[in-house]
């Protein structure tokens, strides 16, 4: 729920800022300086990690350094193992995410449109959203087998709830004033929905999807930990069992990179689909 709330807060400040004349822009020089700080922080962190791994924790059973991790990545790539595991996990994530979105948005729209549907559906949604569903992963593996579909099911069960909740919140959040304004021209319910409710829900829906990215990746990995034949989570658990820390870290790094890339992609999508919040 926290993402919905923080997004609602962002929308509020947007409304008050609207009284300021000119569009806001980051000052260019300041942006560059901040980038410099960010890169210094990243490189500094890696250097520190390398130092700790080489000098303080010499036992390679406990920690792999960035350098060793990089070497492991190259090796896994050359073997073709990296591509294989990433492909399997990527499929699990994308299929699960797509199903969750394809089901979650219509369900959210339906609960927003009708109080009765909301009354029937919402206790389940909020109940399951608050439950650590991930605990059901072993059960899902029992049901759907060791292949990708059990992981798809885990991803769906984690992603669908924030999507439903944010979609509903977004539609309900539509400003009454705006609805009235369009109604004053004789707009019917369908027009009000298409021209007011849906556009005002869009930033919320996208925030829900962005939230789903992180949860979906967790679903893939945890699902694979409980039973799989391939995938990045499988790579990680296999490497842990033979104490191959560089490979384990390589798996983690790939997952982290996927998370960062997907989140950035969604931010770019938001800028495209919600230009009025940025221009």
């Amino acid at each position: 729920m926290s993402a919905t709330r923080s997004h609602a807060a962002a929308a509020d400040t947007g409304a008050t800022e609207a009284s300021v004349g000119a569009p806001r822009r980051e000052p260019r020089g300041g942006g560059l300086k901040l980038q410099l700080v960010a890169w210094t922080s990243i490189l500094g962190g890696l250097a520190l990690w390398e130092f700790v791994g080489r000098v303080l924790v010499k036992n390679s059973l406990f920690l792999a350094t960035p350098w060793q991790t990089a070497l492991a990545l190259v090796q896994l790539w050359q073997e073709g193992a990296l591509q294989h595991h990433a492909w399997v996990s990527g499929q699990e994530f994308l299929i699960g995410f797509a199903i969750a979105v394809a089901l979650g948005i219509p369900i959210g729209l339906a609960t927003a449109a009708s109080r009765r549907t909301a009354a029937a559906v919402n206790p389940w949604v909020s109940g399951l959203y608050a439950t650590p569903i991930i605990a059901l992963a072993p059960l899902l593996i029992l049901w759907f087998g060791i292949g990708i579909w059990s992981k798809v099911a885990v991803v769906v069960s984690l992603v669908i709830f924030p999507v439903i909740i944010n979609t509903e919140a977004g539609v309900r959040n539509a400003d009454r004033q705006l609805v009235e304004a369009v109604r004053s021209f004789g707009a019917n319910q369908m027009q009000i929905f298409m021209k007011v409710s849906l556009p005002s829900a869009l930033p919320f829906i996208l925030a829900g999807l962005r939230l789903g990215v992180g949860r979906g990746l967790i679903g893939v990995v945890v699902g694979e930990l409980f039973g799989a034949r391939a995938g990045l989570g499988y790579l990680i658990i296999q490497s842990a069992e033979i104490f191959n820390m560089p490979k384990l870290f390589a798996g983690v790094v790939v997952l982290a990179a996927a998370g960062i890339l997907l989140t950035a992609a969604f931010q770019a999508l938001e800028r495209r689909l919600v230009p009025w919040n940025y221009e």
């Binding site: 304004a181 021209f185 004789g186």
Partner: protein
Amino acid sequence: MGAAKLTVASLHKSFGGLAVLEDVSLAVTPGEFVSFVGPSGCGKTTFLRIIAGLESADHGGIRIDDHPVTKPGMDRGFVFQADSLLPWRTVFNNAFIGLEVNGAINPETRSRTQALLRLVGLGGFENYYPRQLSGGMRQRVNLARALAVNPEVLLMDEPFSSLDAQTREIMQSELMRIWSSGRKTVLFITHQIDEAVYLSDRVVVFSRRPGRISEIVAVDLPRPRPLSVKRSPEFVAYVERIWRLIEDDVRLSVLEEGG
């Protein structure tokens, strides 16, 4: 006096047990500019919303050109007090929305909307988003949006109340210019008595809730009225007279609302 453009016949409205409007009757002639003043909470907005068809009356009715109105329609345009532009639409698409929901999407209505935006001084800003505009510019878009459907009656609920004093004065004279070029019938709510006197042919004074018409003051100042007319003794006399009519009610309603 010819046939009335708009007639309001013994309108009653209450919300739950709260009587808000009681027996309000009024006839407005075509092209007339009528303002409404009265203490806060006396039912002015409710009155205008009933005329717009956004709210229904308990009793009594509204007629435009002798046709009863119960629903919103293109014969009326509403300019809201609060900023009610759609943030995801550009200036042009905001101004165009009334025509759009009525299916009037064609080159002719498009160029008419363009012309209206120029009329309200927003030529060149068609592709801006509302948040890129100042408060005064946004209210101009609101006005253009209401005018775009080419309504016969323009309903304005404190349209300038959020603007600073200078912008407000400029918007008043702009509104006068636009009104004289099209001569729409205008119903205009305000708390500024001088604004009401400056703009109007008649000023309708509401009593405190339940709102009734306590007096109608005809403003006999020659048009066009330059802004400097506000310093003339006749103008000041009108303002004083109307203020005296509502002074006691305003005081009482403020005390009531305060606790």
